[in-house]
């Protein structure tokens, strides 16, 4: 075998193996994946009245008091689904500390908490993706009073809804307990429809 032979094999192998792994593999995967799990393959989209509201997996921004609020986000101008990412601030960075201070203060204010109340860390920090669909159960708990008050509801009813939307660790030991904000708010609208003015 000469160098030319080896080079020829290198060319042929890269072309053929690219066809195998970069064309045939994805096509086979598409055939099975879209047949077995069409909803997930399409991005787990949620629709209401024929309009796409968002994705079950992608967090969105909520500012109105009658909804549970997502975490602060560093994706674009907040929950930009085309610009994922975190702040990447180091913990020694003044910008990070200021950001946490402001988020925590805003959180206390909107939920009517005393100025020295402990804020759950997920409510004051920005996620890695900027699209985190979840909040911690503690964070949801602290928002119940506000949501119930603005909707004129009994806190117990809202608390039951939160409890039924709290996911424990997957398979009993994987990951952290969490509440999907979009799904909770959708359930809230469905159970206690808002009269839009």
């Amino acid at each position: 075998m000469t160098l030319r032979d080896h080079l020829r094999t290198a060319f042929v192998s890269v072309i053929l193996l690219t066809l195998l792994t970069g064309c045939i593999f994805p096509l086979v995967l598409f055939a099975f994946g879209r047949w077995l799990y069409p909803t997930q393959a399409a991005g787990s989209l949620v629709t209401g009245k024929g309009v796409v509201i968002g994705s079950r997996l992608i967090g969105q921004d909520f500012i109105r008091p009658e909804y549970f609020h997502s975490r602060p986000s560093a994706a674009g101008n907040g929950y930009d689904g085309t610009s994922s990412g975190g702040t990447n601030f180091g913990l020694s960075n003044r910008k990070l500390i200021e950001g946490v201070r402001q988020s925590a203060e805003a959180y206390r204010k909107s939920n009517g908490l005393p100025p020295d109340a402990i804020v759950p860390i997920d409510a004051a920090t920005r996620s890695g993706s900027g699209l985190d669909p979840h909040i911690s159960p503690t964070n949801a708990e602290l928002q119940i009073a506000r949501v119930a008050r603005t909707r004129g509801l009994d806190e117990g009813a809202v608390r039951r809804l939160v409890a039924s939307h709290t996911e424990g660790p997957q398979l009993g030991f994987l990951g952290s307990p969490r509440v999907s904000v979009l799904e909770l708010n959708l359930a809230l609208d469905q159970a206690f429809p808002l009269i839009r003015r």
Binding site: V52, L91, P133
Partner: protein, 561 residues
């Protein structure tokens, strides 16, 4: 709860290492496997088209074929990246805001053909779906398989005696793809789709949110990339946020499977090694050393991240350090991913390491600087571990005053030279490039997010990651410049081909030796004492090489609080 997850993870990695390691030995010794009836015809068809007859190769020819294959891969991907703007399909032009400059194309092509998958771009703003699938998915397979092939060839250096050859690169490559990566990736990818990883070619979704706002959601054939990027120890994400993105990593189960995909194959290669050389205990000892180092890093990183950040002490917040982390993963899955991806030469982190505690980020940084010996890259991790084990053998030989030998192979002056060159290459490249970056305006211009000791850590981390062919980053460093695109490319090339060439040259020399009989004066390579010696050597060599640099970065930052 997270401790249970850590323990189950390690138990699964170790438990799976035996059956998988034995299977790998069967595949590469061309012994019968269950998949043969389906795959043998494809294998012989491919070799007919390649015009290869499977002749044995010397270490030199084997290395040459590996280099040629990688060079053609890089060139092909480079061309595809330059023309990708004109490819049909999504995403729409208005979302592709990052221009594919010449230096970015060079960097990305080298990055994916070396399994580094360092990304100086965000996927959703730069690449067409077709580029991601045809260009990147294929290189995730091909570069991963090439790594596995050279790992196996390295093992043959120990398993053979008085042999001129160490196998055939094309045979090993095709077997790695057909018998290992393709079937596992197909099954794994389907599980990912089931759990919610998208698989579509749709336009970015325009959603009308519950509050009536507009949200555009990037889509794509994410699941095609997602599993193989971990299985091949590549790690480059489909989206900018990589494993933190809910579409790439929607559930803790997906995350757990990804971590297994990274760690199991490299861990099981220790068992393959023991089996192919006929000394099973020698492989188990190496695995034990890996597990001890893994557990140490995990405990330290968990300790740093689970504590409430002292920097935020007077802000009345509680729950550990969640900046840059996802709620579904919490501290546990984030720390596990940081440790596994940094050990496994895989860049698919699921939390932003730039926002870790200094001690928290010290762990992935050190894991990479040690040369990816803890599990490590697919195939490459095994020889990284054995090369450092040879340094331990050399030190042991000095202590007992005998010619050092490992598993029946003598380490003479020539072998020692190769081993020491190998051990010096990583510190030389990483420290010189880091020094260059902090000494030049072009290098310091990357520090757009953080400065001071933290900024220094970002730069050190970038070159450690490139050299280790890992690809993860502290993303606050703005590495999308000509300077970083070219210098990290140099580190990636040195880390892939410089180290592989030295390791394969050594394998060739070992294959040519006879197997020396074990005597009472031999330091046995399969004893717990030897394991302890290797462990100590890894830490000693790492500390001697990098302690000054680490003192300027994460250690100095940690002492400020």
């Amino acid at each position: 709860m997270r401790w249970l997850e850590y323990i189950v993870f390690l138990a699964l990695v170790v438990g799976l290492a035996w059956p998988v390691g034995i299977y790998l030995a069967c595949v590469f010794q061309r012994r019968p496997t269950m998949l043969d009836p389906a795959l043998r015809p494809i294998e012989s068809l491919l070799h007919r088209l390649f015009r290869t007859q499977g002749q044995e190769m010397t270490a030199g020819v084997y290395t040459l074929c590996f280099l040629l294959f990688s060079a053609v891969s890089t060139a092909g991907l480079f061309v595809l990246l330059l023309i990708q703007r004109w490819l049909p399909g999504g995403p729409a032009d208005r979302y592709l805001t990052t221009p594919m400059t010449l230096d970015l194309a060079i960097n990305t092509a080298i990055s994916f053909s070396t399994t580094t998958t360092w990304q100086a771009y965000g996927g959703e703003n730069t690449l067409r779906y077709l580029t991601q699938v045809v260009g990147l998915v294929s290189q995730n397979f091909l570069a991963g398989a090439a790594g596995l092939a050279i790992g196996i060839a390295f093992i043959r250096g120990f398993s053979r005696e008085r042999a001129a050859t160490i196998g055939n690169f094309w045979v090993d490559l095709v077997r790695a793809l057909l018998w290992v990566l393709l079937p596992v990736a197909l099954a794994g990818s389907l599980v990912l789709v089931w759990q919610g990883v998208p698989l579509n070619l749709a336009a970015y979704t325009e959603a009308r949110t519950l509050e009536g706002g507009l949200q555009t959601i990037a889509q794509g054939p994410v699941a095609a990339l997602e599993f193989i990027k971990n299985l091949g120890t590549n790690g480059g994400g489909f989206f900018n946020a990589n494993g933190a993105h809910p579409y790439e990593n929607p559930t803790p189960l997906v995350n757990f499977l990804a971590m297994l995909a990274i760690a199991v194959l490299p861990a099981s290669l220790t068992i393959t090694f023991g089996r192919m050389i006929g000394r099973p205990r020698a492989g188990s000892i190496l695995l034990a050393v890996m597990v001890v180092l893994f557990a140490g890093g995990l405990v330290l990183c968990d300790y740093a991240e689970a504590a409430n950040p002292p920097q935020l002490a007077d802000l009345h917040v509680a729950g550990g350090n969640m900046e840059g982390k996802e709620v579904r993963f919490g501290i546990g899955d984030s720390v596990l991913a940081a440790v596994v991806t940094s050990n496994g030469a895989t860049g698919s982190y699921n939390s932003m390491h730039d926002s870790y505690q200094p001690v928290g980020v010290l762990v992935p940084l050190v894991n990479m600087l040690l040369g990816e010996v803890i599990f490590g890259g697919l195939g490459t991790g095994l020889y990284s571990m054995i090369m450092i084990a040879l340094v331990a053998v050399f030190l042991g030989g000095l202590m007992i005053g005998r010619t050092p030998e490992y598993l029946g192979k003598k380490i003479t002056a020539a072998e020692t030279r190769l081993t020491i060159l190998y051990a010096l290459l990583t510190p030389a490249v990483v420290l010189v490039l880091t020094g260059l970056a902090i000494a030049t305006n072009a290098g310091r211009a990357g520090l757009v997010t953080n400065t001071g000791t933290h900024g220094f850590t970002e730069i050190l981390f970038a070159y450690a990651s490139s050299m280790a062919n890992n690809g993860q980053n502290m993303a606050g460093l703005n590495a999308s410049s000509v300077f970083y695109n070219l210098t990290t490319a140099v580190a990636m090339l040195a880390g892939r081909f410089g180290l592989a060439a030295l390791a394969l040259a050594l394998a060739g020399r070992f294959a040519a030796q006879r197997r020396w009989p074990t005597t009472s004066g031999t330091l046995p390579g399969d004893s717990a004492l030897f394991g302890a010696l290797v462990l100590g050597t890894i830490l000693l060599v790492g500390a001697l090489s990098f302690l000054p640099a680490l003192a300027l970065g994460p250690i100095a930052e940690a002492l400020q609080h």
